[in-house]
């Protein structure tokens, strides 16, 4: 069991959680994720490790409330305990490529931070673009700015930065004469798909962090199957980092929709014991 040190709603529906996990903090690398189990009756959910502090023995996670398990997690308070298995997944491919563009959306705005930091440390010129639907949903800008050479923001409603998405800014920059050697993209599936497509169009090799459903996260169950470059990959052990141009996005959406009935009907029967916020 791991104790939650702090937990707060960073912006509406995005929660930041700092967890006491000294052993994990020692072993974390950019690209790693954790399996979190909010309580005994909960499913195991994968969440990216957004930061760690070896000295303090903590790891940081940003998560969106999107279903029963994350709902339960969001109702936790500092001092509560959760189960966590980490680090999992393959380390991110980081080198000195020259100029890289890093795109973050939804939980990825928080979780892309170790990659920004590592790219910077490797000697890259790092251009970071973060997106949100509106100004009030943007967070972490200052933290990312510290390790980025440049930072841009985009909002769907134009309330902050460019009106549009991260890919809008990426395109604007390239159209304006910028060259990027690589793109790193993290966020919800839709955001990653749109940005990976844009990167491909602009001729930039991209890395994305796939987020299919997972069960065991040790390559055994096959639930996290994805099609990448015509091959079947297990996101938990072969990823979650993959080449964005090779991902079969349609398949990914289809697979995640498969469990929607089950996840949605769960609200009729599962109840969050903490404050009855869920179903019956």
């Amino acid at each position: 069991m791991n104790r939650i040190i702090t937990i707060e709603e960073e912006v509406p529906n995005v929660h930041k959680m700092v967890i006491d996990a000294p052993d994990v903090a020692k072993k974390c690398k950019p690209g790693h994720f954790a399996i979190v189990i909010p309580d005994e009756q909960s499913e195991r959910i994968p969440l990216s490790i957004a930061d760690w502090d070896e000295d303090a023995g903590t790891v940081t996670i940003y998560f969106l409330e999107v279903g029963v398990s994350t709902m339960k997690l969001a109702r936790k308070v500092a001092g509560d305990e959760i189960d966590m298995m980490a680090p999992l997944g393959r380390e991110s491919e980081i080198d000195n490529y020259g100029t890289v563009v890093v795109c973050g959306g939804c939980y990825g705005v928080g979780a892309i931070y170790p990659i920004v930091k590592a790219l910077k440390e490797a000697g890259n010129t790092v251009v970071t673009i973060i997106e949100a639907r509106a100004k009030y949903l943007l967070y972490n800008e200052e933290v990312l700015a510290r390790d980025s050479d440049e930072i841009y923001t985009a909002t769907s409603d134009g309330s902050h930065g460019t009106k549009g998405k991260a890919q809008t800014v990426m395109k604007d920059l390239v159209d304006g004469g910028r060259h990027f050697d690589r793109a790193y993209i993290m966020g919800c599936t839709f955001m990653m798909m749109r940005n990976a497509r844009m990167a491909k169009e602009l001729g930039i090799p991209s890395k994305v962090y796939l987020n299919p459903l997972m069960v065991d996260a040790t390559g055994m169950c096959g639930v996290c199957r994805c099609d990448v470059g015509g091959e079947t990959k297990f996101a938990c052990v072969d990823g979650p980092e993959f080449d964005g141009a090779d991902v079969d996005w349609e398949q990914l959406f289809k697979r995640s929709a498969q469990y929607v009935p089950h996840q949605t009907l769960a609200y009729q029967h599962k109840k969050c014991d903490i404050d009855h916020c869920g179903g019956v």
């Binding site: 509406p12 409330e65 279903g67 509106a134 749109r194 019956v280």
Partner: protein
């Protein structure tokens, strides 16, 4: 009288607004705060129109149309103004998805809303497939917001039972406040002030459960945004299959729009088409779906071998039942008919018993027996007089033996309409439970003696010495006599004791005749008691409530839970299996403490999974449709009865579809129509048509908190919370 709108002349109906006449003639005027069932509010200003001779634009929803008015609804400057007003509304709403360039692709790829805690855009919104706000956005072509957008950041209300509230989406149209006060007569929510911002809420922003809220869901139904949603079904989004059905959780028979998705029932919403005028109660609106999808359903036929109930094939279960039942003489077999069955199912049930040669059939209802006894002799059929909607025109309403909180709750909507028109409303009840707030509540020690006093005060007022009960009775008596039209509703609370129930039912009928009443309705303790009676599924009755006791056709008309019964066919749980019973067949959707003791279990349907007809407390014929997949091997009750009838080798079971059974019942079961009322017989013709053979069996546990004997709270914890807070937790 005519008015000219956009250059064309239209006839005016007296008293209508500019919006009414426009709607009637399919002229589009954008609206948000207006709702056709509610009073005009004039708050959102989207419906502004230009009227010749008026200096400023006027709100169409709140301006009566006058003869010769010249109205413009479509000029460019008007649309510009409306767009700016709408943009202001959107700036305080999570509007990013509304104006996002990727909206369509994003929503296509996420066909169901993401189950977020806070809704920060349409993709996350439970309302997104039926959003009035977005409809107006589309109609006005808004794709930009010129003012800075802001998230209100007010707390979510997610701890209440059934209802989730997120006022960050609220546009302050006040529809919820008005429906709660005007239609439901509850006024649980109002505009309130939080620091400097207006918002909606209960007094002191407390939980709904501590307010006067009745969890009817009317606010959710009229809200144009996703601010108010059902906790259990808010993420299910639009159903794949929809249908028209009827609720059987209580005898009001509300017409419901039902939805199915993924082979399951996912939503029930009150329909415009019934007498329930698009209203329902917490049982129909919020409990039917989780009850249907309960994890605790009977799913497999079972047979007891070596003392253990083991799953078997249907054939085996039926064979075992047949073998068991045939081992007894007809007069040793008894049947309990559930008042939650459809007319067709009840018809088949009695046909099985009569086919076996037994008339030992009773309805699992405390009211059916006493009512047959009290009204059966004085009326041509045991049935109410007048309809629920007739209550609206009454000047005095007397409710006895219930408070309308969990039995026929929707009738309160009609009672409130009458009250708004000046009717006096009296509620005679014993249990101190939540009731209609505008009623004059009288809490006597017992119903029977009070009804006696009341009748005395009607016939010979003021002759007896004052007592509190007598004074109250005097008040009611003079109101009933003064009224042009009166309604008398008799509910299950008065029937917990059969003798007292019979007395109360008799006195209610006498009272009705003494005051020359208009509406007299039995608020049955079961969803389809009326229909089961009409189906003839009770001793001595045949379909159409014809009396058969003297025909000599049947071996006996015993109490199926009384002496001499050795085999029981249950379609409803009984409080306990009587001593002497050797063989039990239990058919139903849920187990109970007695199903544990059954020799054969036949898993069947909830009303939400079957087809057929039900009859409401005022004789309205409702039809039931479904597209739900039953759990595992369970079958609709009508199919089980057909299989059983055939397995028993009985005649009259070669039906293929429910419609064939409906026809065989032989009654005018046209959905939406009313069966004839129970006409009082002329004085001279009265005869005791039902003798003591129709002694009630029971007493049955309270039906208000149960469906087919199953405590709703077992599957719907939120129901427990509400019911307990209203005093229903005995």
């Amino acid at each position: 009288m005519t008015a000219r709108i956009d250059g064309k002349d239209y006839d005016i109906i007296e008293g209508e607004t500019i919006l009414d006449i426009a709607r009637r003639n399919d002229i589009y005027i954008p609206t948000l705060c207006n709702h056709p069932d509610l009073s005009a509010f004039g708050g959102c200003r989207l419906c502004l129109v230009k009227v010749e001779g008026f200096r400023a634009f006027v709100p169409a929803c709140a301006t009566p149309v006058q003869d010769d008015m010249v109205i413009e609804t479509t000029e460019e400057d008007l649309d510009d103004l409306r767009r700016r007003i709408l943009q202001l509304i959107l700036s305080e709403h999570p509007s990013a998805c509304i104006i996002c360039a990727d909206r369509e692709e994003c929503l296509d790829l996420h066909p169901d809303p993401t189950k977020a805690g806070r809704v920060t855009g349409c993709r996350f919104c439970p309302n997104r497939n039926e959003c009035d706000l977005f409809d107006v956005v589309k109609a006005l072509g808004v794709d930009d917001i010129w003012v800075e957008t802001e998230y209100k950041d007010v707390p979510l209300y997610r701890r209440d039972p059934f209802i989730h509230r997120d006022y960050n989406l609220c546009i302050l149209c006040g529809r919820c406040v008005r429906v709660c006060a005007e239609i439901r007569g509850v006024s649980a929510i109002a505009f309130t002030e939080r620091s400097h911002d207006a918002t909606i809420g209960t007094a002191f922003q407390g939980p709904l459960v501590d307010s006067s809220c009745v969890f009817c869901g009317a606010c959710e139904d009229v809200c144009p945004t996703g601010s108010i949603s059902s906790k259990m079904t808010r993420w299910v989004s639009i159903p794949e299959v929809t249908g028209k059905s009827t609720c059987v959780m209580c005898p009001a028979g509300c017409a419901m729009d039902v939805g199915f998705k993924w082979g399951r029932m996912t939503i029930t919403e009150p329909s415009e088409e019934g007498e329930n005028v698009a209203q329902a109660c917490l049982k129909g609106r919020y409990c039917t779906v989780p009850l249907t999808n309960s994890k605790d359903r009977l799913e497999y036929p079972r047979v007891t071998t070596d003392g253990v109930l083991r799953p078997v094939k249907w054939e085996t279960a039926l064979e075992t039942a047949v073998e068991g039942l045939k081992g007894f003489a007809p007069e040793e077999i008894g049947m309990i008919v559930s008042p939650s069955l459809t007319v067709e199912e009840a018809f088949l049930a009695q046909r099985i018993m009569r086919g076996l040669g037994s008339d030992n059939i009773a309805i699992a209802s405390n009211m059916a027996g006493p009512m047959q006894k009290a009204w059966g002799g004085a009326m041509d059929r045991v049935a109410g007089i007048g309809t629920m909607t007739d209550i609206r025109d009454c000047d005095a309403v007397l409710i006895v033996g219930t408070d309308l909180s969990l039995t026929a709750a929707v009738t309160q909507v009609h009672v409130h309409a009458a009250w708004k028109d000046g009717a006096s409303v009296f509620n005679v009840k014993i249990d101190p439970r939540k009731g209609y707030r505008h009623a004059d509540v009288i809490e006597p020690d017992a119903y029977g003696p009070f009804m006696d006093i009341l009748l005395e005060e009607v016939k010979a007022p003021g002759q007896q010495p004052h007592t509190p009960d007598r004074d109250a009775a005097g008040r009611i008596a003079s109101a009933l006599k003064d009224a042009d039209k009166t309604a008398i509703l008799v509910g299950p609370g008065a029937f917990r004791d059969a003798a007292e129930g019979t007395q109360v039912a008799k006195l209610a009928l006498e009272l009705f005749e003494a005051v020359n009443g208009t509406v007299l309705l039995p608020l049955w303790d079961g969803g389809n008691v009326q229909g089961v009676l009409e189906a003839g599924a009770s001793r001595c009755l045949t379909p159409g409530q014809c009396i058969e006791q003297d025909s000599g056709k049947y071996s006996s008309g015993r109490n199926p839970l009384g002496e001499g019964i050795k085999a029981l066919y249950l379609t409803h749980p009984v409080p306990e299996i009587p001593e002497g019973v050797e063989f039990v067949v239990y058919q139903g959707p849920f187990g109970s403490q007695v199903s544990e003791r059954a020799d054969v279990i036949l898993p069947s349907s909830m009303f939400s999974e079957t087809e057929g007809t039900v009859i409401s407390l005022d004789g309205r014929v409702g039809s039931i449709t479904s597209d739900a997949r039953l759990p595992n091997m369970a079958k609709p009750d009508w199919k089980v009865f057909i299989d059983m009838g055939r397995a028993l080798g009985l005649d009259g079971f070669d039906f293929e579809a429910v419609a064939d059974i409906t026809e065989a019942v032989g009654l005018p079961l046209e959905p939406g129509t009313h069966l004839p009322p129970g006409e009082p017989l002329p004085e001279g013709d009265r005869a005791v048509r039902v003798d003591d053979a129709v002694n009630p069996v029971g007493p049955w546990p309270c039906s208000a908190t149960r469906y087919r004997g199953r405590e709703i709270a077992e599957d719907v914890e939120d129901f427990l919370e509400v019911a307990a807070s209203w005093g229903w937790d005995e």
